[in-house]
Symmetry: C2
Subunit: 431 residues, 2 copies
Amino acid sequence: MSEPFDAVDVIVTKRDGGRLSEAQIDWVLDAYTRGVVADEQMSALAMAILLNGMDRAEIARWTAAMIASGERMDFSGLSRPTADKHSTGGVGDKITLPLAPLVAVFGVAVPQLSGRGLGHTGGTLDKLESVPGWRAALSNDEMMRQLEDVGAVICAAGSGLAPADRKLYALRDVTGTVEAIPLIASSIMSKKIAEGTGSLVLDVKVGSGAFMKDAERAGELARTMVELGTDAGVRTVALLTDMSTPLGLTAGNALEVRESVEVLAGGGPADVVELTVALAREMLDAAGRPDADPAAALADGRAMDVWRRMIAAQGGDPDAPLPVARETEQVVAEADGVLTTLDAYAVGVAAWRLGAGRARKEDPVQAGAGVELHARPGDRVRAGQPLLTLHTDTPERFARAREALAGGVVVAPEAPAAAPRPLVLDRVAAG
Amino acid sequence: MSEPFDAVDVIVTKRDGGRLSEAQIDWVLDAYTRGVVADEQMSALAMAILLNGMDRAEIARWTAAMIASGERMDFSGLSRPTADKHSTGGVGDKITLPLAPLVAVFGVAVPQLSGRGLGHTGGTLDKLESVPGWRAALSNDEMMRQLEDVGAVICAAGSGLAPADRKLYALRDVTGTVEAIPLIASSIMSKKIAEGTGSLVLDVKVGSGAFMKDAERAGELARTMVELGTDAGVRTVALLTDMSTPLGLTAGNALEVRESVEVLAGGGPADVVELTVALAREMLDAAGRPDADPAAALADGRAMDVWRRMIAAQGGDPDAPLPVARETEQVVAEADGVLTTLDAYAVGVAAWRLGAGRARKEDPVQAGAGVELHARPGDRVRAGQPLLTLHTDTPERFARAREALAGGVVVAPEAPAAAPRPLVLDRVAAG
């Protein structure tokens, strides 16, 4: 046998609480990519990692080994600095859409390699695909040219970056091992580091609609990722942001594009604007543009100009009407009072069931489906007043969407005593 | 989807330290047998069970579900009570060979479904297959007839008992999840309960040559198995016995048969006789024969008579000469002193490398290969005196067998201060 390690020995090391050596980590990920380490062995190892953890050096090596499984991109030939952003995913999180063109206004290249939605959170590519003509797949050359000419690109991540991560993620998804912080952090960061960005801002969501429900674990994930980026030479900062209620007033593909365009036109919901500007400032700071004024670039139309050029460069028509769902239904307040809860997870599942999301990678999505919000937590409402509009092409879906909302939309006679949660909860930078 | 559970939910329940419900356990083992739960999902669950444990009720249900995956045998038609014995495996452990006929002398039926060796411990079937003509495979009818006529049968377990266990064991073997006590206990007990024995005596080995190296874990395994048997209506007792040095003076297939015949002839090494009689007393007690005198039945030839009939009933010739290895080499004492260590694991690996054992299920074994011991720990020895004889058909194996013995055979100038360990360390019965 020419393999330097035995998979069982590697598994047993972690199972018994030991440290994996650099050579063990390099081998196990390479051998897994080659099919020498079997899926059932990797899933046992993933469970042992989830329950027994990895230290900072182990996680860094694990990430490096995933990067080494594929190709690396190189933006050093661009005339501009690069900055990228990653969100851990939430309900109504359309921030990438206004953010990428906004940062590009200031001469920073934003190479935003994005994914599709799965489950109750939407995907950036699904949203943009509701723009008539727009295409997600670009060659490396097309991407480089667009970064140089327009400054911003949002496109599908190629299959060449960290292929070990793609294989491992699919395995974790079916084996109850998604929730391991070392594996989440290395999965995200391997792709971002392989992509070759100079700086990176992470938006780590906390709350019912987020992958991380509590701030402690979200903070641990943020610190782990900032360490990994920093150790790999990428200027990395993370914001912890609230995801207990949806971002903005829409969840759904075309609905969110419409709201993003409102923000780019200088309007839009306050929370979407606040987070877009906060993340833009971090990206601009990290990319060496501390004096840039992103709020001004939203107000005066410069961000909208880049948006239109970005959409057009990928075949999209920024002036074409967006798709609209065939059917709508309203959810109304049953009594007078205050909207105390508008739960992000409930809204996310409702939008998914209406057709905006998918349960399996290969499922299609409806461009027009989703949920539109007419009130925010803390708002006074009257009996009969519309709280939400549900959108779908397939009205048999309304009933299950309403089931998802049960308990997630609460109108109480009195306002809650607690102050509303701030949107940006914390900031994590290299220590 | 018509499945009542999702595999990921079951995994996550155990991963997060929860109890699996009876319905979850029934489903996951049935679905695994059907191939609906994939290997990579079951291995993640096995790792979560190993690290987070199962309680008594969970283990009992897990065992019941494994039994339900296959057929059950029924000995209630026999005119005699049944008693069975299981050993967790050790080096030189040939006890089943004299024990089964010895217990049958007293009108108790002994249906001994056995396995083959893997790694450094031998298998009962491999040993008996060194008897010319003997065959391990019997139909259920043949087995029942032999139990009624002879009283003892040692044969291969059919593939119909607990098929879920066979599939799960093969998976655990390659995923570092063999060492989970709930899974070890349910694996052993599912087959013994499905087999339908009325009483069961467990020989749980402790020490370097055993699967369990320390007495605490061996005790936990013994208690778990006694609870499982008792809860299933099988009178179950366990002895914890020493496996720091080999049992008897031989390790290897034909070598161990020869030693077993010596015991049946009223002779043989004292430790083999002691353990054979101790286990026979437990089996006879449990089967309602408390006044039987097994030592007398060894001395007066009654056990030998049953042995000869048992071998002949399965096609074997009890008078045929046993196979002998083509080549032998001796390991001699390098100095005068006391043999302080004769390590069971070292001897087991040496016998395996000489050809007595196998690394993979499908490998053949050599009938004559193995290790013969000429001294026991505590014996005074002189420089140049033979301590071991190595037997093999393939002399190129001697060098690697000697490597296995390095450090495992120690002659020291003075005797150790500690008293020798007793052979039977503890007894565990239903509380």
